[in-house]
């Protein structure tokens, strides 16, 4: 576990930098989390993806996969890679304060 001093609070992250307590997430914290993974200030397009991921996870009980994000958020796969380079599914989940998309082992 690691901690991050942000938005006037001590934020707990797991060893890979994912938020441990989803209730600690705020839009301001998302900006800080984005900085820690090297994303510049978040654009409207970033927010479109983050908002979709959070709403979808609240409905479905799990972080959405890449296909689901590209199909339902209105942001194409190509754009997702421009917005969240290398691993859009993982990075979007991290900034949105959601658990990492995982396999069983």
């Amino acid at each position: 576990m690691t901690t991050l001093e942000a938005v006037g609070k001590t934020i707990e992250l797991n060893n890979e930098g994912f938020l441990l307590d989803a209730d600690q997430w705020t839009p301001e914290l998302a900006e800080t989390l984005a900085e820690t993974v090297g994303l510049g200030p978040l654009s409207d397009k970033h927010w479109q993806v983050i908002t979709f991921c959070r709403e979808d996870a609240a409905r479905e009980g799990q972080s959405p996969g890449l296909r689901r994000i590209s199909k339902l958020s209105g942001v194409s796969m190509k754009e997702l890679y421009q917005l969240f380079p290398k691993g859009p599914g993982k990075l979007a989940a991290k900034v949105a304060g959601l658990p990492k998309p995982q396999a069983c082992i």
Binding site: N14, E60, G65, M77, K78, K86, Q102, C104, I105
Partner: protein
């Protein structure tokens, strides 16, 4: 007469049908719909390409797997009309149901990846999730004298998420036996951030990849395949060359799921995590690979779910409330090569941990560790599958996962 209709007579559907047979009150009938005359033992597909399993040992006539008194309708499904509580069959006939069980599984969809299908399909680009695919791959492996073999998971979720790794471990063995291991490069290209993504498994099993000389290309999301140039291109424009491609294509639910408006973006059916009721449909239960659940798409999951679904079907008939009986429990043997295997046991909340199964301290199986006993367990499993699991005989294995006999490494308590 009232009807229970089960769609799909694979592992999940057959077990539910056999569970329910003999337990239904008078006035209820049990029908199961599946067009395929044969039942396929899917765990055996992994061994076909290496010649250690034969096609004829993996299939049995479907009729022999269903108990007497279950009516098998050998037809495809066009769609489910949930408002009318009817199933529309391929020939246009409508089958009314009072309770529907969706056990229609998942299928590979190579057509979802640009360029994956083409003249090179089943020549230099393969799958091993179908009988045809695994058989073609056997020929290709036999004729492979060296070069780069890439195993590529296109996207999650897939059936049996450990199968691609097992394939690589067995390929390492296979080429070693043929005396050409030094001429073969084994690469695992995965959209995930590593071959193992759970902390304890990753720390415990990471050595296997190094020991076997398997390279991992992580966070590789395949955008297209250039079959002529033998190249994979990722969405972030990385290129990965191959001589032989073993693709685990995108998976999706049965086509009728989309036609019925019951599925998500991949035609998997949104399902309540613990009762296995379809979300928004009070007379439809879902299990096995057909669900959108975060549990693994694996036979053991279907087995643990089948008891819960059978129970909840009987409760619905009796007008009782449903049991929240499924906890995401899964266990699977993982072939690690050299006549050894691993066993993992986990659920929605608890990742795979070391220990013993099913008897604490004794086993006989070792969790999250390689052993010969585990390998024999995997081989014995085929007999258990046909003779105990499919007929839904009572087994001394609780459907809920147990923490007894497991150890959580102290530094991983709050990972």
């Amino acid at each position: 007469m009232k009807n229970i209709v089960i769609l799909g007579a694979g592992t999940a559907g057959t077990m539910v049908a056999n569970h329910l047979r003999g337990k239904l009150p008078t006035g209820w009938t049990l029908k199961i719909v599946d067009p395929d005359p044969l039942h396929l033992y899917q765990p055996g597909l992994l061994f076909l390409p290496f010649g250690t399993e034969r096609q004829e040992r993996l299939v049995r006539p479907r009729g022999n797997t269903l108990k007497r008194g279950i009516e098998w309708i050998q037809q495809g499904v066009e769609k489910v009309d949930a408002d009318a509580r009817q199933v529309v069959l391929e020939d246009g006939e409508r089958l009314s149901y009072d309770i529907l069980v969706l056990a229609s599984g998942s299928q590979i969809r190579p057509e979802e990846t640009e360029g994956l299908l083409g003249d090179h399909w089943h020549q230099t680009a393969h799958d091993f999730y179908t009988l045809d695919g695994a058989t073609a791959l056997r020929r290709a492996l036999a004729g492979f004298d060296g070069g780069r073999l890439v195993v590529n998971v296109v996207e999650m979720p897939i059936k049996c998420p450990v199968a691609p790794l097992e394939f690589l471990f067995l390929a390492d063995d296979y080429f070693t036996h043929r005396g050409i291991r030094d001429r073969v490069e084994l690469v695992y290209a995965t959209p995930l951030d590593g071959a193992f993504t759970k902390p304890v498994a990753s720390a415990t099993l990471g050595y296997l990849l190094e020991q076997k000389g398997i390279k991992v290309e992580s966070e590789f999301n395949t955008g297209e395949v250039d079959g002529e140039a033998r190249l994979l291109r990722s969405w972030d424009e990385r290129e990965l060359a191959y001589d032989l491609l073993v693709s685990i294509p995108t998976h999706g639910g049965a086509p009728f799921v989309a036609a019925s408006g019951l599925g998500n973006e991949l035609d998997f059916v949104p399902t309540e995590h613990r009762s296995l009721l379809a979300k928004n449909h009070d007379r439809i239960f879902v299990l096995g690979d057909a669900t959108d659940l975060p549990s693994s798409k694996a036979g053991s999951v279907a087995h643990f779910q089948s008891g819960v679904v059978a129970d909840n079907v009987l409760r619905t008939i009796a007008g009782k409330s449903l049991v929240e009986g499924f906890d995401g429990h899964s266990n699977c043997f993982i072939e690690s090569g050299g006549g050894k295997a691993l066993l993992i046991d986990f659920n929605y909340d608890v990742e795979p941990l070391p220990g013993h199964y099913p008897v604490p301290g004794l086993g006989p199986f070792d969790l999250l560790a390689e052993s010969r006993r585990n390998h024999w367990g995997k081989l014995a499993f085929r007999w258990i599958y046909w003779n105990a699991l499919l007929p839904a005989l009572p087994l001394p294995l609780p459907s809920r996962m147990s923490m007894i006999g497991k150890r959580r490494p102290p530094d991983k308590v709050a990972a």
